[in-house]
């Protein structure tokens, strides 16, 4: 008997994993999330850049650089949060909205922007219906849809780029719209200190924050993300919730797409290429997990900041583009690993 009991408590034997006490360090890491890395980067930045790092110019430049990724991330967070992995159609959503907006410039700036956003949002509606209602595999479906859209956009515009001022033609009204369109990405407030793109990104994050925490949609989404079946059997309209998540995702992507187009002054099918994985990286760095229902928007913003600061610091140190890929990859894997293990220790995974 006694030997048995000793063995039962001997190390290496599995104990019941449901803990009632919570590890303080795990909780700290979990709560602090991406901001822990932000703090580390801040210290590194202060040391290596001797004061230039915290200058207004540099902070603005970091924020400005991540603003497009940030806008798309604010939307993508909803999809990741709903346990649907990733929206692989993000690049084409951005390209489509930009190209539609440019195409509609002859009808005035309002029609152009609204039309562009509407076109992008439509992508989200289709994705949402197929994934939310019919439960298509999110990765494969959005990937397939991205290819189809890519084909359609290329065929429809004959594979060429379109320029706002060329599309506008000779009409004074349209030319003015084109100028306005191109100025979106070049509008600054407070004497050049605050770019419009950063403002829009922050507005989208605040909007996403409220959507996720202060509305019934956000709270339903949390339940849908954590346990779809349980949410369904609790009377949550899962299909509607997931559709809305995708719509918000493509809405944000569409806005990012319009700014992207305005920034390059070119509407092209290749706009937004690579944003699918780049944004997912930022969202995951921000503490969201593919299992859904975990993490929050504040964390995602932190993840976006990490991406921006990392690049900024690496360029400041003078690390080559090639080594930057490596560092980004390693940092990403380490952060995700820490995040996963702390989640497991907290009994959330």
């Amino acid at each position: 008997m006694t030997t048995k009991e000793q063995q039962a408590t001997a190390p290496g034997i599995k104990q019941d994993s449901r803990r009632t006490d919570i590890s303080k360090t795990s909780l700290f890491i979990n709560r602090a999330g991406a901001y822990f890395i932000v703090a580390i980067l801040l210290v590194i930045g202060l040391i290596i850049a001797q004061g230039r790092f915290v200058s207004i110019d540099n902070i603005r430049s970091i924020l400005n650089a991540v603003s497009l990724t940030g806008m798309a991330c604010a939307g993508l967070a909803f999809v990741v949060y709903s346990a649907n992995f990733n929206d692989m159609s993000l690049p084409m959503t951005m390209a489509l909205s930009g190209m539609m907006a440019v195409q509609l410039i002859p009808f005035g700036i309002v029609v152009s922007v609204v039309g562009g956003i509407a076109a992008g949002t439509l992508v989200g509606v289709v994705n949402g219906i197929l994934i939310g209602k019919f439960r298509a595999n999110p990765i494969i479906w959005t990937l397939a849809f991205n290819m189809v859209l890519s084909g359609i956009v290329r065929v429809a515009w004959g594979g060429s780029q379109i320029y706002p001022d060329t599309v506008a033609g000779d009409s004074e009204f349209a030319q003015q719209a084109a100028v306005q369109f191109n100025s979106f990405a070049r509008t600054y407030f407070f004497d050049g200190a605050l770019p419009l793109m950063v403002v829009v990104m922050i507005v989208l994050f605040v909007f996403a924050y409220f959507m996720m925490t202060r509305t019934r949609f956000g709270n339903k989404l949390k339940m849908v993300g954590s346990n779809y079946e349980a949410a369904r059997l609790s009377g949550v309209n899962c299909a509607k919730t997931v559709i809305l998540a995708y719509v918000l995702c493509s809405l944000c992507a569409a806005i990012a797409g319009i700014f992207y187009t305005s920034m390059t002054k070119i509407g092209a099918y290749s706009n937004g290429e690579g944003y699918d994985f780049d944004c997912l990286t930022a969202v995951l760095l921000g503490g969201m997990t593919l299992a859904g229902g975990k993490g929050n928007i504040v964390g995602v913003f932190g993840g976006v900041l990490v991406v921006g600061m990392l690049k900024n610091i690496m360029t400041l140190i003078g690390i080559s583009t090639f080594s930057q890929y490596l560092v980004t990859g390693v940092v990403f894997l380490i952060v995700v690993w820490i995040n996963t293990s702390s989640e497991r220790k907290l009994g959330r995974a």
Binding site: M1, K4, E5, Q7, A8, I13, K14, Q15, D16, R18, R19, T20, I22, T213, R214, T215, R216, F217, G218, N219, K220, K222, M223, S226, N227, E229, A230, A231, R232, L233, S234, G235, V236, N237, A291, G293, K294, L346, G347, R348, A349
Partner: protein, 509 residues
């Protein structure tokens, strides 16, 4: 019992000596002695939560932290992993099928020990031959072993599961509710197989709620209750009534306080309720203040009725009248708004979002009611949550705690709280206290009775008979998808229920 063992003759194939297994909050198995001889079919009976399954899982090596001693063929064994248990000749047939559905039968049968032709390759011919042999032993000689499991019937899958266990040449076979998905003819086939196994000298442990079957197949019967062993009885010396008495014990009368319900007007009327292949032409009525139990064995269509009623599953025909209005729910959102709630049987898979907080889980059903327009912030409604936490004594009383960090009983309370928070008139409770300790059970039962007493209707779907007896005001008996009888309050006791569900005794219609 163990003192009586003579190790030379009459040796036990299996002997468990004062084994215990503790889960957080409960002692699932408490100092149990259990012994089986070779060539014996030993039935293990008891209520839900009596500890039968835990005892057997211990034997199958699923727990590494049990206490006590297990002897197999007289030798002390440490069954700390499934592969160790297998090595010692324990074969376990689980209640839920453990076959990989999209993989062929023969591979499922021989998983982990496919025969090899040489150092590299498996010998498919030999594997198929061995698989056919195994299938032959369970009477599936005509089945093609290269088919996928998903292509064969539920019954054949169940028999395949048995064949799979036979393949590892066990000396002890544990069957946990093997007949729940079988029709009566198929059950006969299974019994013939058990008989032949017995003759081959295997020790068979048979767990079932179907007492009728047990009398047909078993040699000895061990009864468990509340994690303790009540006693072992040779089959000739006992009877259904006797067993039920032993299973139920005296605690029932102490445990369930007598309650008298005020039955009001008709609340829910269901007519000609049919989902082909699940349940057919089901009619029943629930009144205000009434707890109606739908009693049936596993696979009788009990759960499916509940799910179809709230629109979680489709329905082929039938009308539902709720509070005088005819309703038909396409999904659970409509059902909850229309006034019916459904508490699911599997809290982890379909009941709770265990990675979220107690608050989120309790409020999920009433988000729409609490929100002003689109705006909704759960922290504003902590009052509602705290009230429910207090009402159901959820411990620890922290609304922000993750459900995963609660004990099973408290998780179940959260599940209950989430439905009690709603304003639905009718609540369908599917196994509301499965796998829950006594304390939590009592609290949940009281909550159910209080809920009904407020003029609501409850439909109780439970295989826990004392629970049914203690709670319900009327019971309808379901067998093979058809209603076969109805028992009024004054007639309800476990005896009548068990008999009715097993197809014995008087049918009231």
């Amino acid at each position: 019992m163990s003192e009586a063992v003579n190790t030379n003759e009459n040796a036990y194939a299996l002997e468990m000596r004062s084994v215990s297994k503790r889960f957080p909050g409960t002692l699932a198995v408490d100092q149990v002695d259990f012994a089986v001889r070779a060539g014996e079919v030993h039935a293990l009976v008891g209520e839900n939560g009596a500890g039968k399954s835990t005892l057997m899982k211990m034997l199958a090596g699923l727990y590494s932290d049990y206490t006590g001693e297990i002897y197999i063929d007289g030798k002390l064994c440490e069954l700390h992993s499934p592969s160790l248990a297998k090595e010692h000749g324990v074969g376990m047939i689980f209640q839920e099928l453990s076959l990989a559905r999209r993989i062929s039968i023969y591979e499922n049968l021989l998983v982990g020990r496919l025969p090899k032709k040489n150092a590299l390759f498996i010998d498919k011919k030999e594997a198929v031959r061995q698989a056919s042999e195994l299938l032959e032993r369970v009477g599936l000689g005509k089945q093609d072993p290269t088919k996928e499991v998903s292509e064969i019937s539920q019954c054949d899958a169940q028999l395949t599961e048995i064949a799979k266990v036979l393949g590892s040449n066990p000396s002890i076979i544990v069957m946990d509710e093997p007949t729940s998905a079988l029709s009566s003819e198929e059950v006969k086939r299974l019994f013939a197989i058990i008989d032949s196994l017995k003759k081959q000298g295997l020790a068979i442990i048979y767990i079932s709620h179907h007492l009728q079957e047990i009398f047909e197949v078993a040699d000895n019967i061990t009864v468990m209750r509340d994690g303790k062993k009540v006693g072992t009885y040779p089959v000739e010396e006992t009877s259904t009534e006797h067993l039920i008495e032993k299973m139920v014990g005296k605690s029932v009368n102490e445990f369930y306080a007598e309650h008298t319900a005020e039955i009001g007007e008709e609340l829910l009327t269901v007519k000609d309720f049919t989902r082909w292949g699940f349940f057919h032409h089901v009619d029943f009525t629930v009144h205000r203040g009434e707890v109606l139990a739908i009693v049936g064995l596993a696979g009788s269509g009990r759960t499916e009725i509940g799910r179809s009623l709230v629109g979680a599953d489709p329905l082929d025909q039938g009308t539902v009248v709720l509070d005088g209005k005819e309703v038909s729910f396409k999904d659970m959102t409509q059902a909850v708004n229309g006034g019916i709630g459904y508490l699911t049987e599997d809290r982890k898979v379909a009941g709770l979002a265990i990675t979220q907080s107690v608050t989120d889980n309790i409020l999920v059903t009433i988000i729409d009611q609490l929100s002003k327009g689109a705006s909704y912030y759960p922290k504003k409604h902590l009052g509602v949550v705290n009230k429910k936490i207090e009402e159901l004594s959820i411990y620890p009383p922290e609304p922000a705690r993750l459900v995963n960090n609660l004990s099973g009983g408290n998780q179940q309370k959260v599940l209950m709280a989430k439905w009690l928070a709603t304003a639905v008139d009718v609540l369908v409770l599917d196994e509301p206290t499965r796998g829950v300790d006594i304390g939590a059970k009592q609290i949940i039962h009281q909550a159910v009775l209080d809920y009904a007493a407020r003029g609501n209707g409850v439909i109780l779907l439970s295989s826990d008979l004392p629970e049914v007896v203690g709670l319900c005001d009327r019971a309808i008996i379901l067998r093979e998808g058809y209603i076969v009888g109805e028992i009024q309050k004054h007639e309800i006791n476990e005896n009548t229920l068990l008999m009715a569900a097993n197809g014995e005794g008087r049918h009231v219609s």
